[in-house]
């Protein structure tokens, strides 16, 4: 029995990675849920919006690195974020003007908008590959660790090490800042309140003189920012590859639906639920159990419930359970 070492191993392999991944999913799911609430469709292009925004950040990072600019221990990508957000915002606003506005005016069924977003997904995907290619890009710099496993062991004298990567720390801090700003904006500012009003009851909002085009414009701006930040954090933490971003669509949608589509708080809760489930179910528990159980009971196998490749199955099963038991999601979103 060695409770302390077990706890450290658990934190190192499960809690810290899941918190970082959960923050990334939460930011992605917030974008999906906002579009759902205001524009009333499930945006299949969201994963590729994230990829496009991240590509903007990467290009800006390379440019800054070329100029010799650096943030010291922090990745230069943070400095490049505004540029990426601006590029992404320009793209989604242009898309809205050229594509979505037409259907909005026609008041088509939501499912038509979903199909249209599929076309947009194709185009974004093609654009991203066209500019930066389909391969892996690494763009993280600065120091790699806040605490490395070695330092931690030296500090505490424990057998297990706890490593916290800079990208993980930055993910959490950035996510908290972004979410705080978002909630302040939605709850305290006039524009934010008009957005919530529009989401709750479109007709009533229009009657009280809210300009729908302005609401939509602001929504796209926020979504572009959220997508770029989420994509950049994911890219810093893991790596940037356009196809991976497309695959993030499933966990992101699962997060948004589990929390309740249209509910920002739900999106955040959903993100963490999905992330923690994915990581705990695909983690090999041998090490932690080895510390906790008496030697005679120590497991022989890896004690991994599912291979890492089945992580999509985890989001999927949670999604199915929620759909069966509570289709409106944990926080009573609007969709049934």
């Amino acid at each position: 029995m060695d409770f302390l070492n077990a706890l450290v191993a658990l934190s190192n392999f499960v809690i810290v990675p899941a918190v970082a991944y959960g923050s990334q999913l939460a930011l992605g799911a917030l974008g999906v849920t906002l579009i759902y609430g205001i524009l009333r469709f499930s945006n299949f292009a969201h994963g590729d919006t994230m990829a496009f925004g991240t590509m903007g950040v990467i290009l800006a990072t390379w440019w800054l690195q070329g100029l010799g600019v650096s943030l010291g221990p922090l990745p230069t990508a943070l400095l490049a974020l505004p540029a990426g957000i601006a590029i992404c915002a320009a793209l989604v606003l242009a898309t809205d003007r050229v594509v979505y506005r037409f259907y909005r005016a026609q008041r088509v069924k939501p499912v038509i908008l979903v199909i249209v977003s599929m076309g947009v997904m194709f185009v974004y995907n093609g654009l991203t590959r066209f500019v930066i290619g389909p391969g892996d890009q690494s763009f993280g710099d600065g120091s790699r660790f806040v605490i490395s496993a070695l330092d931690f062991r030296a500090m505490t004298g424990l057998q297990e090490g706890l490593a916290i990567r800079t990208s993980q720390a930055i993910t959490l801090v950035t996510a908290i800042v972004v979410v705080a700003i978002l909630f302040w904006f939605l709850n305290r500012t006039r524009t934010g309140k008009s957005m919530r009003a529009y989401s709750d009851n479109e007709d009533l909002a229009l009657l009280s003189g809210i300009n729908p085009e302005r609401v939509v414009l602001v929504t796209w701006l926020i979504v572009a920012a959220l997508a770029t930040v989420a994509g950049t954090l994911y890219g810093l933490d893991k790596s940037f590859k356009p196809f991976t971003y497309f695959q993030l669509l499933l966990p992101i949608f699962a997060s948004a639906i589990v929390g309740g589509l249209g509910s920002p708080v739900g999106a955040i809760a959903g993100g963490f639920i999905i992330a923690f489930s994915e990581v705990t179910i695909t983690y090999a528990w041998k090490k932690v159990l080895g510390h906790l159980l008496p030697e005679s009971l120590e497991p022989d196998g890896l004690v991994q419930l599912l291979a890492v490749d089945y992580k999509f199955a985890v989001s999927f099963v949670i999604l199915v359970v929620v759909l069966l038991i509570r289709p409106t999601g944990l926080f009573r979103g609007k969709a049934v």
Binding site: V111, V114, I115, F122, V123, G126, L250, V320
Partner: protein
């Protein structure tokens, strides 16, 4: 938008259909004359398969308004069927762990059935939640306890050549209906869960099941050899080598003025074309009969106004489940045909943009709700998908003609030609949705 007055529309509709199909024929024949007959036949064969896939999606979307984004998964299940039916069994692997694996699978089915029965029969409450949860968790561990050692035993049987259970060793054509059945089974499970909820939920659920099917094919080596691929599937047509060694064939080829190598590969491809054409024609006739039957009218009535149909006593969710299963079965059938055509199952080659979203482009371009439209879209979009690359290469060489040989921009542009496809398909889809949302051959 393009509301036309329907007087005499029947005639123009027919003329339009014929004209567009002639265009497809010209494109494929043109490919034959300009590039090569081999290329043309490759396009034709995959076009036939694509047309069946497109008919499947059209059934779900065009007839019933169901949004399936998991086409890739159903197609891949068809591919798995080709392996399970066509490949010879591996007796050593079966001896090592076959029965245990089958036992584990039966057990998992039993556990799920038990959990579902408990959930349905018991009164809602803590006890039910606890029991269902306990059954699932205990069942999962017993299942893994049974499966894992058997799996290891099977996978260690000559892993370089086999390492899997193999198939039944039956004629591969039998795999086509089996592929349809496998896909239908998966569709039943998904439909039970997601139908009756919002349309977006079905989309996301199917997106998920497709990813899971691919993950299973990639990781369950005992079933499909995973990323080691299954190659050398048996064929319903003769092998090129055998034809080339047949003196009668060589003589006939010579009398047509062809060398035996080209002649044999063309003959083989024509053989596939004949098989696929028969299947496509049968399905198309059946789909046309279904569309124009009372059943088809009911489906469209449900699609156009669910509330009204429900008020008339139609079981909307039940009908949706039925057509969702039918459409998915077509996708599985086409998937098995495609794997037969390829002669191999390569799980890593299943990409959602190619196998899900491209099929959607076909349906939308062709005209949702119109079976001929779906077939047309299948051929036309497939031709475009294949030809965008050479066309793009030509355009790019023109664009970059003025640049220096070693210019980085030039290299980048030439490299990105491969990605023109996605961009082109996206633009084609958006343009169609905007300016001709009913497709090239609109629903009558």
């Amino acid at each position: 938008m393009s509301e036309r007055i329907h007087s005499g529309a029947g005639g123009t509709d027919r003329a339009r259909t014929v004209l567009l199909f002639v265009l497809v024929a010209v494109l494929i024949l043109g490919t034959g004359f300009v590039q090569s007959w081999n290329t043309a036949l490759v396009i034709l064969n995959m076009g036939l398969v694509s047309a069946i896939m497109s008919l499947g999606v059209n059934m779900q979307w065009g007839f019933a308004g169901l949004f399936n984004v998991g086409v890739m998964g159903f197609v891949a299940l068809g591919g798995l069927a080709a392996v399970l039916v066509g490949m010879p069994p591996v007796p050593e692997a079966w001896a090592a762990g076959g029965p245990r694996i089958i036992g584990a699978l039966l057990l998992s089915a039993g556990v799920i059935a038990l959990a579902v029965t408990l959930y349905k029969r018991m009164t809602p409450g803590r006890l039910r939640a606890f029991l269902v949860f306990a059954v699932v968790v205990v069942g999962f561990f017993v299942y893994r306890g049974l499966l894992d050692p058997a799996k290891e035993a099977v996978e260690s049987v000559d892993p370089a050549a086999t390492g899997y259970l193999g198939g039944l060793g039956l004629p591969i054509v039998l795999a086509w209906p089996v592929g349809g059945l496998l896909a239908a089974g998966a569709a039943w499970v998904i439909g039970k869960v997601a139908l009756g909820l919002r349309s977006d939920y079905l989309a996301i659920a199917t997106l998920g099941i497709a990813e899971i099917v691919i993950a299973i094919l990639k990781n369950e080596d005992w079933l499909s050899r995973g990323v080691k691929n299954v190659i050398g599937l048996p064929r319903p047509v003769p092998y090129e080598v055998d034809l080339q060694q047949d003196p009668a064939f060589v003589e006939r080829a010579a009398s047509l003025g062809m060398d035996p190598a080209t002649a044999s590969s063309i003959t083989v491809k024509l053989g596939y074309s004949a098989f696929f054409t028969v299947v496509l024609v049968i399905i198309l006739i059946a789909a046309q009969l279904a569309l124009n039957s009372p059943w088809g009218r009911m489906m469209r009535a449900i699609r156009d106004n669910e509330t009204a149909a429900e008020a008339m006593g139609k079981d909307v969710t039940g009908r949706h489940l039925q057509i969702f299963i039918l459409g998915s079965a077509l996708l599985g059938l086409a998937g098995a045909m495609m794997t037969t055509l390829d002669g191999q199952l390569t799980p890593a080659s299943y990409q959602p943009l190619r196998f899900t979203f491209l099929i959607w482009v076909m349906v939308i371009v062709g005209g949702s709700g119109n079976n001929f439209g779906a077939v047309l879209g299948g051929f036309l979009v497939w031709w475009l998908w294949v030809q965008v690359e050479p066309i793009g290469q030509g355009v790019m060489s023109l664009v970059t003609a003025g640049m220096a040989e070693d210019s980085a921009v030039r290299d980048h542009l030439m490299d990105s030609v491969a990605h023109m496809r996605l961009l082109t398909m996206g633009v084609v889809m958006l343009l169609m949705l905007r300016f001709a949302p009913r497709g090239l051959l609109p629903e009558r």
